[in-house]
């Protein structure tokens, strides 16, 4: 099971970085820089490797580095892999980005002062994850200085998963265990503390999982990702920073689709069943639908059309939606212990009810 985590940890995206034309002061203009960017890393951390490539051509002044993709300024605190998964529906290899060393758009992007800003943002997210999982940030705030340094080093030198696990296991952020993920575990992982409450069989009943959900939508179907509309503004992406509450139920696997639907209740108002064997229980479950909120209007609007989850991309892969959510959390989570999900929704065709 370490394998999946290793693949994620070592995943990288080839970037082709162009200097913005306004900052090119020499002829011929410099060639773009080619660099392999770790998925779990952050763009500002690449600057020491990129800058030498362009320094001879930059205009005089102080550097304030930022990146854009097709004109969209990139949020530097979002891990590189997530930016790629989100903004390139059809993966572009190499990914062509533009770097700027001047003219930081301070009205759009929060300031970044290099590695320190990224580290601060990372630790902050780790604290938030700890709070979500444990109810307090103590384990992170009480980290020794050497541990903090080692943790950060293991992230920015993205090859070092062993060092990361060594330090992060002290944070007691645990793994999500349920009977569906248990088969996939190696014995070494079983000894780690579990998130949430467990019953006598060790099956997790409840727990909060840190999630960052990025949702974009389309109105029409598309067969090829190439035809998906380009995201040209952050206002087109709905960012939802909310934990998923796992409620373990006997005999029922909490899937990735269940998790996504629980984060977007307004699109999936009915508790829908996605296991084939559960279809027999559909009749029983109809009674569970809360009736106080249902008006005829709502019923006819949502009668057969929930929104459709067209795409869920995590660490560059698109798992089957029936996959146990616990496996996804344990293997695809980022080093700051958040699971980042890029979701494309096809919106329902809302039927306007006719007045009778």
């Amino acid at each position: 099971m370490m394998e999946a985590r290793k693949y994620v940890w070592e995943g990288a995206i080839p970037l082709q970085i162009h200097l913005h034309e306004s900052e090119v002061t020499t002829l011929p203009p410099p060639l773009p820089a080619l660099i392999l960017a770790p998925r779990i890393g952050y763009l500002p951390l690449l600057v020491p490797h990129i800058k030498p490539h362009f320094s001879s051509t930059l205009p005089p002044g102080i550097d304030t580095v930022w990146f854009d993709y097709k004109g969209l300024p990139l949020k530097w605190y979002i891990p590189t892999g997530i930016l790629f998964d989100l903004l390139c529906a059809e993966p572009e290899r190499p990914w062509n980005l533009t770097v700027h060393f001047r003219g930081y758009p301070g009205n759009i992007l929060i300031p970044c002062e290099g590695e320190d800003s990224v580290k601060w943002s990372f630790i902050n997210s780790l604290k938030e994850a700890a709070y979500i999982i444990n109810g307090n940030c103590k384990s992170v705030m009480n980290m020794s200085q050497p541990d903090q340094v080692e943790l950060w080093r293991s992230v920015i030198n993205a090859g070092n998963l062993e060092a990361y696990i060594r330090v992060s296991s002290k944070l007691k952020l645990g793994t999500v265990g349920d009977e569906y993920a248990a088969d996939l575990y190696s014995s070494s992982l079983n000894s780690r503390q579990s998130i949430g409450d467990t019953d006598s069989t060790g099956q997790v009943k409840t727990g909060r999982v840190p999630i960052r959900l990025y949702v974009w939508s389309v109105n029409e179907d598309f067969d090829d990702l190439e035809d998906a509309p380009q995201i040209d503004s952050w206002d087109k992406i709905s960012y939802i920073n909310r934990p998923v509450e796992i409620h373990g139920e006997e005999g029922k696997c909490f899937t990735l689709l269940d998790a996504v639907k629980s984060l977007l209740p307004e699109y999936f108002p009915y508790k829908s069943l996605n296991n084939e064997e559960s279809s027999r229980e559909e009749d029983k479950d109809e009674e569970k639908v809360p009736s106080e909120n249902l008006s005829e209007h709502v019923e006819s609007c949502y009668s057969s059309d929930d929104a459709e989850v067209k795409l869920v991309r995590i660490q560059g892969i698109e798992p089957k939606l029936e996959i146990p959510f616990s496996w996804v959390v344990n293997n695809l989570v980022n080093p700051e212990h958040f699971l980042h999900l890029c979701v494309c929704l096809k919106l329902p065709q809302v039927k306007i009810p006719s007045d009778t």
Binding site: P210, W234, R242, E266
Partner: protein, 200 residues
């Protein structure tokens, strides 16, 4: 005389493409274009009763009248926008704010720090519970300043610990927010009139 800037509720559909009806409306409390106490000439503080709206959903949805501040004549007076946004992660309200001069020029962190009441600037540096960072506004895709929520539930528990009736009956959303604001507001120099806190 002074006008009353009531807080207003700004609903935010989660989806920028204009979603159909949500069962659970998200949004934030907003108070904008105000001048904070350090610059105001407070000869008359008018106090009004807090209005209690029915809270049909779990999000904090109400109007709070607070003592308002008379405008000063100083031209380089910073204006503040304050938003109170619920954090699902920390399960507490979080204060977001930004400041700008009357010509629209935004204040950076250093300028804001100078503008804050002297005691709170020191509190900022000393306290691990309340410190200010610059982060992206959860809904507006722009950089705002945020009062860090990490310790909120700790000191909120302390606040309510002394009140026996609270321990027995729990606390209404209005009282929670008022108490929260009485602490948080001190950081930015926002004052809550005592009369409000004595409302049943």
């Amino acid at each position: 005389m002074s006008a009353f800037p009531p807080w207003s509720w700004v609903p935010c559909p989660k989806q920028p493409w204009g979603a159909s009806a949500s069962h659970d409306v998200e949004g934030y409390l907003s108070l904008e274009n105000i001048i904070l106490s350090c610059y105001a000439q407070e000869e008359h503080d008018e106090i009004s009763c807090p209005q209690k709206e029915e809270t049909s959903c779990s999000e904090k949805e109400e109007l709070i009248d607070i003592a308002t501040l008379v405008q000063s004549n100083c031209s380089k007076v910073p204006y503040y926008d304050l938003h109170i946004i619920y954090s699902a992660s920390y399960r507490v309200p979080v204060l977001f704010f930004r400041a700008y001069y009357s010509d629209g020029e935004p204040l950076g962190f250093n300028a804001i720090e100078k503008d804050l009441p002297a005691h709170s600037a020191k509190a900022l540096l000393d306290s691990k519970w309340t410190f200010i960072t610059q982060e992206e506004h959860p809904y507006l895709n722009r950089p705002w300043f945020k009062l860090h929520p990490c310790g909120t539930s700790e000191w909120m528990k302390l606040l309510f610990h002394v009140d026996v009736s609270v321990a027995k009956n729990g606390v209404t959303i209005e009282l929670y927010l008022l108490s929260w604001l009485s602490v948080v507001g001190q950081v930015v120099g926002l004052r809550i009139p005592l009369e409000m806190l004595n409302q049943p």
